[in-house]
Amino acid sequence: MAESALKFTWAEQIVCVIARDLRDEDSVQVGGARHDIPYAAVSLARLLYAPDMTIFTTSLFWNPELPPLRHSGQLASAFTLMADAKGSGYDIFESSEKGVATVFFYSGLQIDRYGNINLHFVGDPRDPVIRGPGVVNPSRGVSAKRFYIYAMRHEKRTLVEKVDFISIAGHIDGPDGRRKAGIKTSGPGLCVTPLAVFDFDESTKAMRLKSVHQGVSVEQVMENTGFQPIIPREVTVTPPPTAEELELLHTRIDPDGVLRR
């Protein structure tokens, strides 16, 4: 595959991978300003791939305007007041129990081969080396039809063999993990990192290298992954951002270049 002449960052690559995977029938919750990647992915998907997708914010505005990402400050600026409707904690409870959000996004301190996510305790939970920020809503990992994992770093200490603590259940311990735990949804869809895209093998439910980003080698991925992912015979290159995607990112979604830092 020819290298694209367009310049882009790994964050923009992740945004495009997720955006292309979103669909009109999806319903997604996006968080606040810290969640730049899902926010940009949803913004891009609405413009290009899934205009009918339902979007709601943490503070429960239905189908809000999505103002551009900002470098810092004014969290308030991402707090739009133009929307289809305004909800409250009632909707949050219902939507997280019922899966009114059909799609969700999680990042993690640790992510393991079965897509389990740790946001709470690294080390022994009773005396942790790191106490993470926790997770506001782990329910969506159970109730949403699928979720995306995005990693801000592709390192051995992040992508681990087994998380120290499961904050959000991926496939738990294998193909039957979710079913045994009484979970009916399919769980993690893609795991996207600065280096590669993983999906999950249908039979083992273990992470499988789906593609490496342009300019990244399979070896580089292996060296930085704390477990042995399934490597298919042929690993493709992640289709890089298109000119159209980048133009929208640069002009409408991320004019400040938050994703280009």
Partner: protein, 303 residues
Amino acid sequence: MPVKSRTPKLATVDECLSLMHDGMTIATGGLGMFNKPCQWVREIAKRRIGNLILCSSPQASYDADLLIGAGLVKRTNIAQVSFDQLGLAPNFRYAAQRGLIDAVVQAEATLAGGYLAAAQGLPYHAVGTLKGNDIVKLMSFAKKYTSPLGGEELLAVPALSPDMAFIHAQEGDEFGNLRHLGAPAFDPIIARAAKVVIASVDRIISHQRLRMEPEKTTIPSRFITKIVHLPYGAHPTFSPRHYVEDEEHLRNYIQRARQSLGGHAPEAYKEYLEKYVYGPKDVFEYLELIGGVRRLTQLEGVW
């Protein structure tokens, strides 16, 4: 840069009712004498979609009575069916008393609890206030149990998720965002509980204008499957800030039902159905029959 645009949910009556079939569990919104989806009920009756399990907000009126009178209902899940101070609901009362329908005894809490459980994706909702009465003995759909935290006796009401719900609001946009100008009553819960939700509105309003005041939206489009513009769609019940109830029409309706059921004029109710339900080809023909612009102007009311 060409970007994609959102698909409107505006639809025709036929498109919506092609989703409905015999034997379904349906719910009607509104409450008592307002916001009843009356034009939907007439359209359903015209198509003779029958064998229905009819739920409603806890209080039904014309909606339930007409579907029962047209012979399309096998079971009701409603706390009370009545025409308020105009009297009891003749067809409901007659059919329930004679066992022609299975009129399940419900209370506001069991219906609301059932819808809430469905809205929350939970198998049941706890109800703690049906105690000491004989009603609960008739509620075979519910189950008594002890709180898992111990002590208190509760009633478990199973989730009630209608196959289709019909809701009438005053305003809505092309994407199905609704605005009730009066009380939304149980419509927000029913919309979240039902599998398919069909809305009608008296007036379609600008999406851009609606978005300026999201706090006025009573049901977001996420929960609406299709929206149809049906002016005066709640007639003869009332539509807050748009029109008052048509007392003359309602009295005529009730009288005809009573005459037929009492045997004094066996054809009286059938004539009502022929004229107002089976006859008109659409809502506009119906509105001409009830008196056209002159009558509708009289029903404007002072809000």
